[in-house]
């Protein structure tokens, strides 16, 4: 049951590598087609494909003899091929369990034989395989295998080139798209900057600027607002302060008015009585109109002497109030009248002059004639003793001169005065004016703690905040400075939009941040865009670098061209190739560099590259369009060296072939399966085969039927034949059996597996001669021996006393005669032996011989002799075996041991040892004899030599023994020699190859039957297809040639059994082909079937014929009939050939 081929390692990478080549599903290309055609032609198969292994299918880039462009991977042979390190060969798919039930085997295209070489790229991925397929079981010769491998390398190289070009195209495309993207990005993200100074790209500065400006604006705005606010506040405040100050001034001015009024009263009347004063004051309505004034009164200037009268008057009114305090001054100033009496009564009689402040104010008022206010003091009558003040207005006597101080002093009558509680005076003012202000009134020019007259908002009631607005205004009231401190209380700001600055700040700040953020992000975006652009540029540069480094280092010249055929760019290899600097290349028309290169074609072309110095180089050019279609990439490879190498190779091959073809000896090479890989013309002649017929046949085909189990025979043959010259029976094509001499050796370099070559010599003639000779010798030996036998017999009988007694002398004579007769017989034997040996060397019966057996037989033969001479013969036991002729080996050993015994002194042992070492068996025979001088050692193995001729007489022996031994040993493929030391002894040795293990060499043989093959030469592909199918169906092996050149080549490589030629090959090629073939002796006999559109007349028929020739006219015969004719012709050929 067939199993699907396992996936290769790194299959995904492999598939990717395949994709990268961009070769799948591309149209056929001449280059690949050439490879498959060559493969088919060289291997002699009807089908060849370049198969690329996709994930689920194998796709054929190029194919010969096959209609399909792809087939499922699961069924493909190639799936197995791509797993192999080297060629995969399937001799007979039907016999291979992997493929036995493969649909392609069971059905079309009837695959029996498959060979595929993996297409392995530089990075180790097997993209597919180059395969050849046949419909019959067979195998490839080493040359074919080698060629297939080479073609596979070519196919791989082609594919790699495509990948390189694809990569280049991609790089170019990448670059272009990157450039475009960059351009786009820049255009949209950042408007083109103005022609003037480039702006900073740092986002910080810009954003900061963006932040600063609105922030500054905001701050300015806020500040502005605050200022404005402040100003408003201050204005308001100032206004308030003014108002208050005015109010206070007004109020006090009012009070002054009151006093003036009072003064006026006293001025108007001579006498103002209490009741008058009362009426006046009451009429004033001071409670309502002059709040604060606690008392309005009149102070009379009283001399000290008048005091009692004053007091009496008072008493009279019911006021029992003395002038007090008594201070003893000359004058006193007691309060006479006071209104309202309620609450103030106590003040009556009080001496204003007793108190300094009062006195000061009063005197000042008297002296200056105006209303004067005291400093802060507390009214006498005030139960609360709150801060207050008095106002004095002087009253002068009527009509007095009050223009001077003295005048005034003198004229003073008294004062009208008012007493006020500051609180009451001022209190209502601020309430009315501005409740949110705090008014402190200090007596004096500046606020002084002790001088506080009034505080509208005592600390208990909350104070103004920090930084509260506060102003000090000094008002002069009644000649007295009062420091008014006005402080804004929180409620003062209540209706001011004090949030304004904050809001502005907040809003502006937020806005600034927003602006900042926006600008930042913009700038950031811009920076990001620029960075991206830079990255892309860098990546582009790097990719450019990579491409450039590829282009720079790649050995092929790579040129980009525009549509106009002008060079746009070139890599260093191009400079080298064309012998021009880059500057000289760019802009040059490609026709200058590679004449005849049109800008449009694809695929590979052979052209010449024209160098600057005028020289030319053969190049292989591949042109592909670059992405975008308006430029092209040309990859140019200098193949002149390759061509030269190819040429040299061809020449070398030709030489070799010439030698092979012309040497006299036959040379056959086989593989380890004993299939003939090649046979030179001499070998073909020997075996009677047509040129090319032997190739691919099994060696067994050359073995006579009579042998029986050919496989076993060959196996043993190999084992025996390697490294030796051996003789075999062979079978010619005609069936005739003949003897040939084979000298076989193993060689390397023929490709994978073992290869053997055999030099073949037809020895049938020699055999005949030898047979004659043998017969002659046989006859002669008989003729010689018979009389010798008689002589010897007679002498023996005589000497034996059988026929009566002899005298001593007579007996001595007879003994002499007998001895010489024996010697003569020995000589005759030796001569005959030697002759036979040297001429009929193949009389040896090679078999496996146990050396132990040889030793035993030798011992038996020499035993008596050795015992007689009292020379012990010691033999080391051995288990070694050799391939050889046992009897002959015994003969050698007997000879050597006999010699050893002969030349050993009595008692000295002769030792025989057998050793095996490294495939050879060494036998040594050592004696303690005289030894052999160096000068003799070499010659000792020559015929008729003995150390001294006297030995012959003494010791007997013919002098031929060692020569015979040498001949026998060498016949075994061995060597013989001697080591000796004069006076010590000698060691004779011989070495022969031991029995090689037959199995090591060979595997199973297969006896293949030869299939007839037919070569079809026709340019009409459709017609060919039809014929091929039919013939294949008939079991015929078909080769196809599309033109005369191919046909001729195919015929030369391996002459077909039948050549079918369409005479209609263009331009008379058919006729020419036949003429060429006819010109060569061996090709002129090829059976020929001429297929033509029109009848060929008899005369022409004669001219065209080669071997047995038939003519068919296309229009007159059907395909079936053609088939029949072919079959008949093949059968006839077969009969004639009888293979």
């Amino acid at each position: 049951m067939r199993a699907a081929a396992p996936l290769p390692d790194r299959e995904p990478e492999r598939l990717q590598a395949l994709r990268d080549t961009q070769i799948l599903d591309t149209p056929p290309e001449a280059d690949f087609d050439a490879l498959t055609r060559i493969a088919a032609a060289i291997c002699g198969t009807p089908i060849a494909v370049v198969s690329l292994m996709d994930a689920d299918r194998q796709w054929f880039k190029s194919k010969v003899g096959l209609a399909e462009t792809e087939s499922p991977r699961s069924d493909s042979f190639a799936a197995h091929a791509i797993l192999e390190p080297d060629l995969l060969e399937v001799r007979d798919a039907q016999a291979d369990p992997r493929f036995a039930d493969n649909p392609h085997v069971l059905g079309r295209p009837h695959v029996r034989f498959y060979a595929g070489t993996p297409l392995r790229t530089a990075d180790g991925h097997v993209l597919g395989s180059l395969c050849v397929i046949d419909h019959v079981p067979r195998s490839l010769t080493p040359e074919q295998r080698s060629a297939l491998r080479d073609l596979g390398l070519q196919a791989t190289a082609q594919i790699e080139i495509r990948r390189t070009v694809a990569e280049l195209r991609r790089a170019v495309a990448e670059r272009e798209s990157a450039e475009a993207a960059l351009r786009r990005a820049l255009d949209t993200a950042i408007p083109p900057p103005p022609r003037s100074a480039p702006s900073s790209t740092r986002p910080g500065t810009l954003a900061l600027a963006a932040l600063m400006v609105p922030l500054v604006l905001t701050l300015a705005g806020a500040q502005l607002s605050r200022d404005r606010l402040e100003r408003r506040r201050e204005e308001r405040f100032a206004r308030s302060v003014d108002q208050i100050a005015d109010a206070v001034g007004d109020r006090l001015a009012a009070y002054r008015q009151v006093l003036r009024g009072g003064a006026a009263l006293f001025a108007a009347r001579r006498e103002v009585r209490r009741e008058d004063w009362h009426a006046y004051v009451t009429g004033l309505g001071i409670d309502q109109r002059f709040p604060g004034i606690r008392a309005l009164g009149y102070i009379r200037r009283v001399a000290q002497a008048e005091v009692p009268a004053f007091e009496a008057r008072l008493r009279k009114e019911g006021l029992n109030l003395p002038v007090r305090p008594v201070i003893g001054t000359a004058e006193v100033f007691p309060v006479e009248y006071i209104e309202p009496m309620e609450g103030n009564r106590a003040a009556i009689g009080f001496d204003m002059g007793s108190e300094p402040r009062r006195r000061a104010a009063a005197e000042t008022a008297r002296d200056e004639g105006r209303t004067v206010m005291t400093s802060e003091l507390t009214l006498v009558q005030d139960p609360e003793q709150a801060p207050g003040f008095l106002l004095f207005t002087p009253i002068y006597a009527h009509g007095a001169d009050v223009r001077t101080v003295e005048g005034r002093r003198a004229a003073l009558a008294g004062w009208v005065y008012a007493g006020a509680r500051a609180r009451d005076v001022i209190g209502g003012l601020t309430v009315r004016v501005a409740p949110e202000l705090e008014l402190e009134v200090y007596d004096g020019i500046a606020p002084r703690p002790g001088a506080l007259l009034y505080d509208s908002a005592p600390p208990a009631r909350g104070a103004g905040g920090d930084g509260a607005l506060s102003r000090v205004r000094v008002v002069t009231v009644n000649g007295r400075p009062w420091a008014l401190r006005v402080t804004a209380l929180p409620p003062f700001d209540a209706d001011l939009p004090t949030w304004e600055p904050g809001l502005i700040l907040a809003g502006g700040g937020l806005g600034s941040l927003l602006i900042f953020g926006f600008v930042w992000s913009l700038a950031d975006a811009r920076r990001g865009a620029i960075e991206r652009a830079e990255r892309m540029t860098a990546a582009l540069r790097a990719s450019e670098q990579r491409v450039r480094s590829v282009m720079d280092t790649v050995a092929d010249a790579i040129i980009t061209l525009g549509r106009d055929g002008k060079v746009h760019s070139a890599n260093p290899a191009a400079e080298w190739l064309f012998g021009r600097r880059l500057a000289d290349l760019i802009g040059r028309d490609i026709g200058d560099l590679i004449p005849g290169l049109a800008a449009a074609p694809s695929g590979h072309i052979d052209r010449e590259a024209r160098r600057a110095d005028g020289s030319a180089a053969a190049v292989d050019v591949a042109v592909t369009p670059a992405a975008g279609g308006d430029s092209f990439v040309a990859s140019v490879r200098d193949v002149s060296e390759r061509r030269a190498v190819e040429q040299a190779l061809r020449q070398s091959e030709q030489r070799t072939r010439s030698i092979l073809d012309n040497m006299l000896g036959g040379l056959i090479t086989i593989d380890a399966d004993a299939t003939i890989e090649s046979a030179n013309p001499a070998a073909e002649r020997i075996f009677g085969y047509e040129p090319g017929e032997l190739v691919g046949r099994p060696l067994a085909g050359l073995v006579p039927e009579s042998v029986g189990d050919r496989a076993a025979y060959l196996r043993t043959a190999f084992a025996r034949a390697i490294g030796r010259i051996t003789e075999w029976r062979g079978r010619r094509k005609s069936g005739e059996e003949f003897p040939f001499e084979l000298s076989m050796f193993e060689f390397t370099g023929g490709g994978a597996g073992r290869h053997f070559a055999g030099s073949v010599r037809d020895v049938s003639e020699r055999h005949a001669v030898e047979k004659l000779k043998g017969e002659f010798i046989s006859t002669v030996s008989h003729e010689l021996r018979t009389p010798l036998a008689s002589i010897r017999g007679s002498l023996s009988l005589l000497a034996g006393g059988v026929l009566g007694d002899l005298s001593d002398e007579a007996r001595e004579m007879v003994t002499i005669a007998e001895r010489n007769c024996v010697r003569l017989i020995g000589l005759v034997n030796d001569i005959l032996d030697l002759e036979r040996l040297e001429q009929g060397r193949l009389q040896m019966e090679i078999g496996e011989v146990a050396m132990a057996d040889v030793l035993a037989r030798t011992r038996e033969a020499v035993h008596a002799f050795a015992a007689e001479r009292e020379v012990p013969v010691e033999m080391e036991p051995t288990t070694v075996a050799v391939q050889g002729d046992g009897a002959r080996l015994v003969q050698v050993l007997v000879n050597l041991v006999s010699n050893a015994v002969k030349f050993s002194p009595a008692g000295a042992a002769v030792r025989v040892t057998v050793r095996e070492n490294d495939g050879r068996v060494r036998v040594e025979v050592s004696d303690r004899g005289r030894g052999i001088p160096a000068s003799h050692r070499a010659a000792i193995f020559e015929r008729f030599r003995q150390v001294e001729s006297s030995d012959a007489r003494e010791k007997g022996g013919t002098g031929l023994g060692l020569a015979i031994c040498k001949a026998i040993v060498e016949q075994h493929g061995g060597e013989i020699g001697v080591e000796s030391e004069v006076g010590r002894g000698s060691t004779f040795w011989f070495e022969i190859p031991s029995a090689p293990a037959a199995d090591r060499f060979l595997e199973m043989f297969r006896v293949a039957d030869g299939r007839p093959d037919v070569l079809l030469a026709d340019h009409d592909v459709a017609l060919l297809g039809v014929l091929v199918r039919q013939l294949v169906g008939d079991g015929v092996r078909v080769r196809v040639a599309y033109d005369a050149a191919e046909a001729e080549q195919a015929i030369r490589e391996a002459a077909p059994r039948l050549l079918v030629v369409d005479l209609g090959l263009p331009e008379g090629e058919g006729r020419r082909l036949l003429d060429h073939l006819r010109a060569e002796e061996r090709l002129s006999l090829v059976p020929l079937l001429v297929y033509s559109a029109q009848d060929v007349d008899e005369r022409l028929q004669r001219k065209l014929a080669l071997g047995p020739t038939r003519f068919l006219t296309k229009s007159r015969v059907t395909d079936v009939e053609v088939r029949q004719v072919v079959s008949r012709m093949l059968a006839a050929e077969a009969l004639e050939g009888q293979s």
Binding site: T786, S794, A887
Partner: protein, 122 residues
Amino acid sequence: MKVLIVDDEPDIRRIAKLGLSRVGGMEVVEATNGTEALARAREDHPDAVLLDVMMPVLDGPSTLARLREDPATAGIPVVFLTAKAIAAEVERLKSLGAAGVLTKPFDPMTLARELRAVLGVP
């Protein structure tokens, strides 16, 4: 023991006869060719036949064949006498049905002994 010697060479016959009879104590009858050998064998009923290989008219092997054909003589062991000493020849002769092979030249002094050895008789 009666031995029939067949050889076209009279000298060989003579020497062999002397060797077999004088030395070996055997009774010897002679034949000069194959045809005679057949008659002799029939008439004299020898215990063994010493048969030369190379004889004109009817050579050794053919004579042997004839002897085997005749039931009267078929059972008589035959020993070939040959000048060719090669193992192949020996095998060949043996394969023809000979009891053994002796080579020429032979030593008449040991011939009887060897014959006995080949025949396997004491």
